[in-house]
Amino acid sequence: MVIATLCGMGFGTSMMLKLFIDDILKAEGIKAETNPWDLGSFKGNKADIVVAPVDMEPHLRDYPAKIVLIKNLVDKQEIKEKVLGALRELS
């Protein structure tokens, strides 16, 4: 399972999302690879789930992965519910 987090440059917002998701996966005992991506280069990469800020939705319309959109990027509860929900759907 590969989970990608997306932002404009791949080291600010997406890195913060990755760190939250790593914590959540660890707490839940779930093994998955998490990678921060940037908008410029992500289209060549593959992931099962892409987690992104809600306003990036237009960039992800054609992307072949389960897309998870987050409104509040520091709300661990929102991130947890949505990411675990996506993982359940895929398992």
């Binding site: 760190l19 809600v54 306003d55 509040n72 520091v74």
Partner: protein, 153 residues
């Protein structure tokens, strides 16, 4: 690098009377440049990122995290904070208006990560946000921000 090293004290300013998103970006760049942490061109680079990539940098209700690229003139990894007298619309679909604006300068893709993790943890803490929003002037904000970080360790 830890959060209290990333944050530049003189680039933490409270209740500024700014009116537009671009004024917030320019002021953030100016403060970081005055501290010698970025080149003056960094502000325009942050504006270009916002213009090109959209308002996703409003990461949570009322909170913006601005940044550009290391090669846009970052001299050392740094973080500024502006709190606004009047909240400003940044154009986000659900997190507007903004009253807390952080600006990050990252020297590379790695060295600021542990500080960013600390910041993310604090931003999910309602007490921390109350302290930032409740500080009436710049000295009070600087003092309470750094002491909160110190205690949070």
């Amino acid at each position: 690098m830890q959060l209290n090293e990333l944050l530049i004290r003189e680039a933490v300013q409270a209740r500024l009377d700014l009116r537009t998103r671009d004024e917030v970006i320019q002021m953030s760049g100016k403060m970081l440049a005055a501290a010698g942490a970025v080149e003056p061109r960094y502000a325009d680079a942050m504006k270009k990122v916002m213009d090109d990539l959209g308002p996703y940098c409003v990461i949570a209700p009322g909170i913006a995290l601005l940044h550009a690229r290391p090669e846009d003139g970052v001299i050392r990894s740094c973080l500024s904070l502006i709190t606004l007298q009047k909240p400003i619309e940044f154009g986000h679909s659900s997190n507007d208006p903004v009253d807390l604006a952080f600006a990050l300068g990252a020297l590379d893709k790695k060295s600021h990560i542990s500080a960013l993790a600390e910041l993310a943890g604090f931003l999910s803490n309602a007490d921390f946000l109350r302290v930032l929003r409740g500080s009436a002037d710049t000295p009070a904000l600087q003092t309470s921000l750094f002491s909160f970080i110190e205690k949070g360790k």
